[in-house]
């Protein structure tokens, strides 16, 4: 299918189904029940899953294939966001020009950053990209205020020209749309005590993510992708095999920068605002964590990692001590206090602690990330069913 091998087509279809049914699967608990706070099926969070998925897929093309660890990819995310926002201010609230422009601008910017940073490798490359990202952040925060809105950031205003749209009706505000379909609009489905939300913005972002995922599979399986993996494996041998590593690494850098820009553009398409903090170095670090947590150099890993981190960030952080008291109310008083005191540092604002512990556990015990974990579980099941291996080899 679409020039993919059987195995890859199967994975693409599986991801497509998961993404399409996410509003159901992420809302397994009935509304109003004690477990409802673990539901992740609301538009805002689902959008973040797929958008950060795109960000991580792109980052993985650079880090996973070539081994060049960039600590500055949030800069491209931010540049993409500003670019999309300006399209919304100047041209139209339709998200399509904004998304296209965000990819282009991020591509040009990453070409400049990559061209300079790729003169060095290893830690020096990482530091150079980090420096560029922090410079971009500072510029966006201060000097470039006329373009970036500085501290307050940018939002669409009533007074914006928007030359392709007609002027707004009195008292209305500009809303991002896809040829008339508002990104914020949702269809809600009530089944018994379950409530499922199907959001237009989420599905737009999901389709873009599937395209991005498909392109990444094609790159992984191409001769170009082979050369990128060879860069990671043995750059010296590659040089002495008649291949110029520089354009390969630069192309990978620009592609991953464009993915980041795309993610940034989609963020603006969803919530129509942008601030400089989007380019802060912690945002660059986050995508590194996502990629490693999911599985560096694997196809699906970055998406898994992005979802896992965004889930913890949004769900774990909402649990507070009142909720803990509810959960452990059945315990005798003294014991209840004790258990809650033990758990409390890991929830709410302490979710970073949990993330840190999980990250350490994954790096130590599953160097291949969540994907390796999945493979190990799959192997356990395979071993219990003798004869299955033989059948697998035939297919």
């Amino acid at each position: 299918m679409f020039g993919l091998e059987y195995k890859d087509s199967r994975m693409l279809i599986l991801v497509a189904i998961l993404v399409a049914l996410a509003p159901f699967m992420l809302n397994p608990f009935p509304e109003g029940s004690g477990m409802a706070q673990f539901n992740a099926g609301y538009p805002d969070l689902m959008q973040r899953f797929v958008i950060f998925g795109i960000f991580a897929i792109g980052f993985n093309i650079l880090f996973g294939l070539t081994g060049y660890l960039s600590f500055g990819h949030a800069a491209f995310l931010g540049v993409g966001s500003y670019a999309a926002m300006w399209m919304m201010k100047l041209l139209t609230m339709n998200v399509v020009p904004g998304i296209i422009f965000s990819v282009l601008v991020a591509g040009v910017f990453s070409l400049a950053v990559g061209w300079i940073s790729l003169r060095r490798s290893g830690i020096y490359f990482s530091i150079l990209t980090l420096a560029f990202a922090q410079m971009s952040y500072s510029l966006a925060y201060s000097v470039l205020t006329p373009i970036t809105g500085g501290e307050t950031g940018l939002q669409p205003k009533v007074t914006d020209p928007r030359i392709l749209d007609g002027s707004l009706a009195e008292g209305t505000i500009a809303k991002a749309n896809f040829f008339g379909l508002e990104m914020g609009s949702s269809f809600e489905l009530q089944l018994g005590s379950w409530l499922f939300t199907f959001n237009a913005g989420y599905y737009l972002a999901a389709v873009v993510m599937l395209i991005a995922f498909y392109i990444s599979i094609r790159i992984f399986r191409s001769p170009f992708g082979l050369m990128l993996r060879a860069v990671k494996s043995n750059q010296q041998r590659l040089n002495y095999t008649g291949l110029n590593t520089k354009p390969y690494t630069l192309a990978a850098f620009v592609i991953s920068g464009m993915y980041a820009g795309l993610a940034g553009g989609l963020m603006v398409a969803m919530d129509t605002q942008v601030g400089a903090e989007r380019m802060f170095w912690t945002a660059s670090g986050e995508v590194v964590l996502m990629t490693i947590l999911g599985g560096v150099g694997t196809l699906i890993g970055p998406v898994l990692g992005a979802s896992a981190i965004k889930y913890m960030e949004n769900i774990l952080s909402k649990i507070n001590s009142d909720i803990l008291h509810q959960w452990f109310a059945f315990l005798p008083d003294g014991l209840e206090e004790f258990v809650i005191t033990l758990i409390y540092p890991f929830i709410g604002k302490g979710w970073h602690l949990t993330l840190g512990l999980i990250f350490m556990a994954v790096v130590i015990f599953l160097p291949g990330g969540l994907v390796e974990g999945g493979q190990r579980i799959a192997n356990l099941f395979k071993r219990k069913m003798p004869g299955k291996d033989a059948r697998d080899n035939k297919s």
Partner: protein, 254 residues
């Protein structure tokens, strides 16, 4: 005129004159060995030929064209392939993928942004890679990660990768260093076979006299950065200057 002409090449590292005034001519389709005691400048000379180092003085001409100042990948594209002292292969990739990379480099040049074709569906490249692996007797190891090969097989793979590009000059830097006797003999047989079956020039830097005398047609003896003598293996064996250079080394070591 040889295929490779080295004229008055000198290289200095700080206070150390690594290469004095090296003149060397390698005849096309011959096997030329460069030997010499430790620190004679053999590796420095080789690095000057492949673009890793730029000599301070002199010229290096390959097939009538200067290679000075060119990058290693450009020199490779001219037709010089290099085998390293410790096998340099792509350990994370499968044996077949290892072999496909030089095939792509040979056909498509130093950079091709072909991100949208499936590499396994490029029959020309896959067949070429499989063919060379068969010649190297490694067909059944195609799917193995290259890092898990034995030392001898890694060497075979690396030589195969170089041969798949059909280079005009193959440079070998101590190809049997650190190998067991059996592996060494296998490598000698492989190189003999290559020499007999192909039109190829081989330059070999070696410490092991057994390897040198089984393969070489001409031998250059290098000592303290300058060529001492250049002659056929038979004449080199009994040459007083050579004995002196090597004997001197053993006395120093003792």
């Amino acid at each position: 005129m040889g295929i490779l002409e080295v004229k008055n090449v000198g290289k200095r590292f700080g206070g150390l004159q690594a290469l004095g005034d090296v003149n060397l001519s390698i005849t096309e389709n011959s096997v030329h060995a460069i030997i010499g005691p430790n620190g004679a400048g053999k590796s420095t000379l080789l690095n000057c030929l492949v673009g890793k180092l730029i000599p301070d003085t002199g010229s290096v001409m390959f097939d009538g064209k200067s290679v000075l100042g060119l990058k290693p990948f450009e020199i490779n594209q001219m037709g010089i392939s290099r085998v390293f002292q410790t096998p340099e292969i792509f350990g994370d990739l499968s044996v077949l993928e290892n072999m496909m990379i030089p095939c792509f480099a040979k056909r498509d040049g130093a950079f091709t942004p072909n991100a949208f074709i499936n590499m396994m569906k490029d029959r020309e490249i896959v067949e070429r890679a499989e063919h060379v692996l068969e010649e190297m007797n490694m067909s059944e190891k195609q799917q193995m990660p290259a890092a898990s090969l034995s030392r001898g097989d890694k060497r075979r793979l690396e030589i195969g990768m170089c041969l798949s590009q059909e280079p005009r000059l193959l440079l070998l830097d101590e190809p049997t260093a650190g190998m067991a006797r059996a592996d060494t003999n296998n490598t000698i047989d492989l190189l003999k076979q290559i020499k007999d079956e192909r039109e190829i020039t081989i330059a070999i830097i070696e410490h092991d006299m057994h390897v040198v005398f089984s393969l070489a047609e001409r031998i250059t003896v290098l000592a303290q950065g300058t060529p001492l003598v250049e002659d056929t293996p038979d004449n080199i064996k009994g040459h007083p200057k050579v004995r002196e250079a090597y004997l001197g080394e053993t006395q120093d070591a003792a």
